[in-house]
Symmetry: D2
Subunit: 264 residues, 4 copies
């Protein structure tokens, strides 16, 4: 089967090199670069000009597969300075907003940029992501991560203490809050958000959920809901099908709410 | 606070009329249309020209809120001829692909069009959704649903028996399969898909998962995984925080895989 | 196959009459008693002298099965004046104590007597259950329930306000607490309990868990743990195996702790 | 507070020495025995004659607590030759039978004896556990484990291939099956069981559940159900309450059924 030119791997492309479930490497293709694994080395020169889906061999003769990175792969493989939101949680949260191509959205905090890149991809080519963080070093790392995956151009970063100064935008389509004390941000998010539109936030502890929801109720948000998303992998093997025996059992509670315009 | 003109409610807009968690109505605004509830009637004329987030009153004096529909709201409120994929499941699946603005994706079957509209929104303004179903009446209903929410223009519907005839496209960015026997479609999906790219499928029963994965392994797919996404609502009330006592406990097992190009 | 005399159904025996998963009736056998179902009537005279496991017929010709009630059946079929602890939760909690034949245990509150009967069965023939409740009518109902299932003789009921007056026993092997404010009872439970032995408690809300655990830590309990037990039914049908789609998603958080004797 | 003589720790008692959640040691008390931990050594002589609940000190000055072992502690701390049934699963299963003091029950296989000891405790002082295994070395290890915890006297072990030869008992109150191929045992369990009484079995894979249930249906069992019990620990900390982040996500599917006596 012939592959279209636009599916051929070239310099600077992101490729997920997959040997098996424990050996997956997200790389940006550079001619001559070698990737070392315990099943042998891969020379990236051999995959340039090949289509995605190509089967290569390490110098020890082991097959590897050149896969297209999923959005989740891009998120999970950013260089991390902080914990990141998980795809299972973000997938749910994105659909709980109206965000799509062309949207203008605010994110606080930038963290490692995992969420930033997903938002940037989702709102392209016309939308904008306004990403805020208090820490300059986090923003610098996130910028590098976004440049790496090619989604930097629709993002504006701001280093600021939002709890004090608020956001610089008005009438954004959604606000995503990932900070330890979301309740401090709720009044600022209200000011920045379009009427009727969505605020989402997530926190690991029940007390944070309670306090955030109290703040949302006090600041004219409605349709407030908190959920948990639990992911359970099924192992499909020759000897039988069963859920994986050990794994992640909690990440965060997810909150969504919508801004009401209070009659004067 | 002033609201931008582009956030004012006008004829034909979709609005989520929210009274409380049990009373939410997705409506397309038509001047003069009345919506009846057990807490009184709403006349839609009163909300035209108001911003999203507006607080109206039923003729019995009860507050209602004019909310922006989320993507999940649009999905869940389509007129259903079939069971639909749940937002918790679709959110996860979308991030397991590389689909975004500009993508060309195949969907089988069209069903009620809930997935179709989310894909259409996600790939806009340049992409295309190729939506297949064996049943003409399903496609007609889905077309009405998509026209209703305004996402029909990037969708091409085809009524065909794909297990027999295959798909008409090549080199699509992703294939979404929602049929009772996904294993019959796997070889056809392989032909339609770009190398390295993603097939996703979902099924309620374990045997379907097993048989689909066997077909994927037999047809040169790799990085095959099956998961379940379990959603758990937390009730945050004055008397305390706890998970909801009763609810949905299973929808479907979710499968993702990527196409390999087998060396000749 | 012959059945031993001791497995023959006789007057006053408890029998679970099972037609299908939606039609199960726990009855005490009385000659001449008729049980009415939407699949016909059963006359209990026909099962006297038959072995457990007997297959009878309703007057409409439908099969029913005379099953031995499980401990969980006895719990779930008591006449309820209150919510009861679920078997999934109690099974876990019982094994988290050292209770067995001969144990002396305290229970507060009596409620409908569902827990009382399981404890009474477990500690027989030598042990004692001391069951407390503030409400006389609950105790009366529980006594009837225990007489019904034949486990009344090892139970001593006390109607008292334990938060004020404490328990009358010392050196019991375990204390089971099922009241809305367990933290009030913790000091009284400490006085009644043997050193090193177990207190268990359960509550639906997170705040109750927090406050109970704070009280346990303040009153020299150690090895304190809180868990949730989630039960998930698998449907095994001709068309396939899958989890049940709807059901119970939360009952209570379960707490266990052990008493330390603080050096003077 | 004074402790009754019967709660004083003496030679041969089982004590759970608890330093913290990661350092718990189930020991049989022997005068002069030293237990080494990374927080210092404990000399067991110092706890003889002290009550359960006693707070001792390691030679490095760290507190340890002398706790009464729970039934779950005894199960989890047996010397293991095989995987064992978990307390969360066994607690549920026990209540799904009618087993209590005086019952006669069959267990296959013996494995490490974790289930054996719980059954032996539950049916004491008059009942009997008939424990079968194909492997002599497993039975020898289980005997040592039961002697260690003091529950050997109500257990009869048999080394046999039950799938071929069946059980030696008739009219037992329950049969517990923990083997890889339970379907082979179903006809033998039918012969050994009282009419109307309970068979329980557990298996990690879905295919095993399906095949076991098919065998139960073919051999006159009714009221057949399969469940999963999921345990979720809540961490209650100063910084907040939340579920534990990583842990066990699957152990086994649990099956229960009751024997019907088919009319001739």
């Amino acid at each position: 089967m012939e592959e279209r030119a636009n599916n051929l791997i070239k310099e600077k492309d992101l490729v997920m090199l997959y040997l098996d479930d424990r050996r997956q490497f997200l790389v940006q293709v550079v001619s001559g670069l070698r990737v070392s694994t315990d099943h042998g080395d891969l020379n990236l020169s051999q995959i340039i000009g090949q289509p995605f889906g190509f089967v290569g061999k390490t110098h020890l003769g082991r097959d590897f597969y050149c896969l297209k990175p999923s959005t989740a792969d891009l998120m999970m493989k950013v260089k991390r300075t902080t914990t990141i939101v998980y795809p299972k949680d973000l997938g749910y949260l994105l659909l709980e907003t109206s965000v799509g191509p062309g949207s203008r959205v605010i994110e606080l905090g930038t963290g490692s940029g995992a969420l930033t890149l997903v938002l940037a991809k989702l709102i392209a080519p016309e939308g904008v992501v306004y990403s805020y963080d208090r820490r300059d070093d986090f923003i610098e790392n996130a910028k590098r991560n976004l440049n790496h995956v090619g989604y930097a151009k629709n993002v504006e970063f701001t280093c600021a203490d939002v709890a004090l100064k608020g956001f610089n935008q008005k009438d954004v389509d959604a606000v995503f809050i990932d900070v330890p004390e979301p309740w401090d941000i709720v009044p600022k998010a209200y000011e920045a958000l379009k009427g009727g539109h969505h605020l989402v936030s997530w926190s690991p502890n029940v007390e944070q959920v309670k306090r955030t929801i109290d703040a949302l109720e006090a600041h004219s948000f409605k349709c407030i809901r908190a959920k948990e998303i639990i992911e359970r992998e099924m192992l499909v093997r020759l000897q039988g099908v069963r859920p994986r025996e050990r794994g992640i059992t909690h990440t965060a509670y997810l909150i969504r709410a919508q801004k009401i315009i209070v009659p004067q």
